[in-house]
């Protein structure tokens, strides 16, 4: 039988064809971008991918498991520093650690990027597990305060552990490992992983805890264990994003990981929709690009009736205002808790309801 080229084919196979076509188109697009974009634009494009990972990992705890956690900057910092220290060459370390030399057991380690990145993620995940076991007996605001405090503790430790992290001087001259393929490859793998995780029985358990903890527990869900699991996975992913960020910026210092970094990610999550993977992906790209596109706001402005000679940080005012508008008029963000699906596109009329020809559905 010809699988569904003729009329009334099951919508399942239409969707598979569409998904396959979209995946090919996306891949082709990455190739084109990688070879044609100038290096500045490509940097922003890479940052989009890193922000996708950060937003998704924060959304896993805040959106899907319903735990108000604000410790993300801390987990990023752990991943970033671990990965950076493990991948730097011994010579580089000597150059960097000028105030006090690095501890001997770290001085001669040099790993390739992938193991460094994974160990960074695992270490962040381990810290997340530890913090989770301690703090997940708290909920709501109390958990937020505890995790916020934790991320500041991490930052203070990084600033003061001179012989391990080089303290406030930070680490400079990291190899620029985070290519377009590393950034987007990781983002795609992690997105797909999370889509499957959320659809699995673990994902259902996370969402049941978010919706009603007591009901979840009386269904036999191990509420505490599931919370810790979600928290650990999220920290792991934040650690991976931190490692990517370190080798994207090529320089890190503790000040980058102040709690405001967490709020940047939270902004993306809230704008995209708390509890939507699609929303986080779209918002991460949109916010990252607008952060650059709105840079003119920081420079001299002449609006006709009023002129400024350049107010640094004015573009952040735009995001603050946007956040207020969203919180007042559209609390659910861009996507609410909805996810992208071909059927949903068909429902709002962007696709024919029953794709007559698969070729037409490509893009």
């Amino acid at each position: 039988m010809n699988p569904g080229l003729i009329n009334k084919k099951p919508s399942m196979s239409r969707n598979q064809i569409l998904t396959f076509a979209a995946a090919c188109a996306g891949l082709a697009l990455l190739f084109v971008f990688d070879s044609t974009l100038d290096s500045f634009t490509l940097q922003i494009f890479k940052l989009c991918a890193i922000n996708i990972i950060l937003a998704l990992s924060l959304n896993l705890i805040n959106g899907f498991t319903g735990l108000f956690s604000l410790g993300h900057a801390g987990f990023m910092a752990v991943g970033a520093y671990t990965c950076a220290i493990l991948t730097m060459s011994p010579e580089q370390k000597e150059v960097n650690y000028v105030l006090q030399p690095i501890v001997p057991w770290l001085a001669h380690i040099q790993l390739p990027f992938l193991p460094g990145l994974l160990i960074g993620g695992l270490f962040a995940g381990f810290i997340g597990w530890l913090l989770g076991v301690i703090s997940l007996r708290l909920r709501d605001d109390y958990l937020a305060i505890a995790t916020l405090g934790f991320s500041e503790i991490i930052r203070v430790l990084l600033t003061n552990a001179q012989t391990v992290t080089n303290g406030a001087l930070g680490l400079k001259g990291l190899p620029r490992f985070t290519t377009m393929w590393w950034a987007w490859g990781s983002a795609i793998v992690i997105t797909v992983f999370l889509v499957f995780l959320i659809k699995s029985s673990y994902g259902r358990a996370f969402k049941s805890i978010r919706d009603n903890e007591i009901a979840a527990e009386s269904m036999g869900v191990d509420v505490f264990g599931m919370k810790v699991l979600s928290f650990t996975i999220s920290s792991f992913l934040a650690g991976i994003a931190g490692g990517l960020l370190a080798h994207y910026l090529t320089t890190i210092d503790p000040k980058q990981f102040i709690f405001l970094k967490t709020f940047d990610i939270l902004l993306i999550v809230v704008l995209g929709g708390v509890g939507s993977i699609t929303g986080s992906v779209i918002a991460a790209i949109a916010v990252t690009i607008s952060m650059e596109a709105l840079r003119f706001l920081d420079g001299p402005l002449d609006l006709g009736f009023v002129a400024t000679s350049g107010i640094p940080g004015l573009r952040m005012v735009f995001f603050s205002a946007l956040l207020m508008v969203v919180v007042i008029y559209r609390q659910q963000g861009l996507m609410g808790k909805a996810e992208f699906s071909w059927d949903a596109l068909a429902r709002i009329g962007l696709l024919p309801r029953r794709g007559p020809k698969p070729g037409k559905g490509g893009l």
């Binding site: 009603n212 007591i214 527990e217 009386s218 036999g220 191990d222």
Partner: protein, 235 residues
């Protein structure tokens, strides 16, 4: 048979359950009635392990469940429909039901049970892809009962299933309780609606301030003067 002996629960300094004992024979409907704050919900929550009991024993067919984890208790066949419905509002009917079967892993039978529950509650079948939060109170209660049945309980404990429902739904809920019981499921029912509860129950226990003051068959209690005065608003 589920047998509770001298169960005691403290909330901080408050002695919520003062050593209560009750028996729930297999295949029967047993109801706990009493005023607000008498300890009815606490009793159910302590049996299922949501509240840690201080002392006493919970014996289930010879197995000691005192202090066991909720997951283990649910797996052994005792399940609670919590008070106030507590469905998962952002999840669809299907997802809610699937979560009811969280402690099981026999896929084919879970699917059969889902169909059986759709037979019991046709409204749920019609709207199986809809989010539970969009349902009316009565429909949510049906979903909560259906979700509990998905765990394939031998004992179904229900906490105030008729609370806040319209008279039509109250009638339906009690019909459903009878129907569930007729399939061999033991029911332990906590109710404010004493009249309706005692009418379906084989045995009733009357609770006051954390202790059981007296018990009897459903019919006996319906005719009892003390019950009539205190809970049925008669005499």
């Amino acid at each position: 048979m589920l047998s509770i002996k001298n169960l005691s629960v403290h909330y901080g300094g408050i002695h919520a359950l003062r050593g209560i004992s009750l028996d729930v024979p297999a295949g029967k409907i047993v109801t706990l009635i009493g005023a607000n704050g008498a300890g009815k919900s606490t009793t159910l929550n302590a049996i299922i392990g949501l509240v840690k009991a201080g002392s006493g024993s919970v014996n289930w067919n010879g197995k000691d469940l005192f202090g066991a984890k909720t997951k283990a208790i649910v797996e052994s066949g005792i399940v609670l429909v919590p008070e106030g419905r507590r469905v998962f509002p952002n999840l669809t009917v299907d997802e809610n039901l699937t979560l009811g079967a969280f402690a099981r892993n026999d896929k084919a039978e879970i699917e059969a049970d889902r169909q059986r529950i759709f037979g019991l509650f046709p409204r749920l079948r019609e709207r199986h892809k809809q989010k539970a939060g969009t349902f009316s109170g009565g429909e949510q209660q049906m979903l909560a009962v259906g979700r509990a049945l998905m765990s394939k309980p031998t004992v179904l404990m229900m906490d105030e299933p008729s609370l806040g429902l319209s008279p039509i739904f109250v009638g339906m809920i009690f019909d459903i309780i009878r129907e569930i019981n007729s399939t061999g499921v033991t029911v332990l029912l906590v109710e404010q609606n004493a009249k309706a509860a005692l009418s379906v129950a084989d045995t009733g226990y009357v609770m006051e301030t954390g202790a059981i003051s007296f018990s009897g068959s459903g019919q006996e209690l319906l005719a009892d003067d003390r019950v009539r005065r205190a809970y049925l608003g008669e005499g």
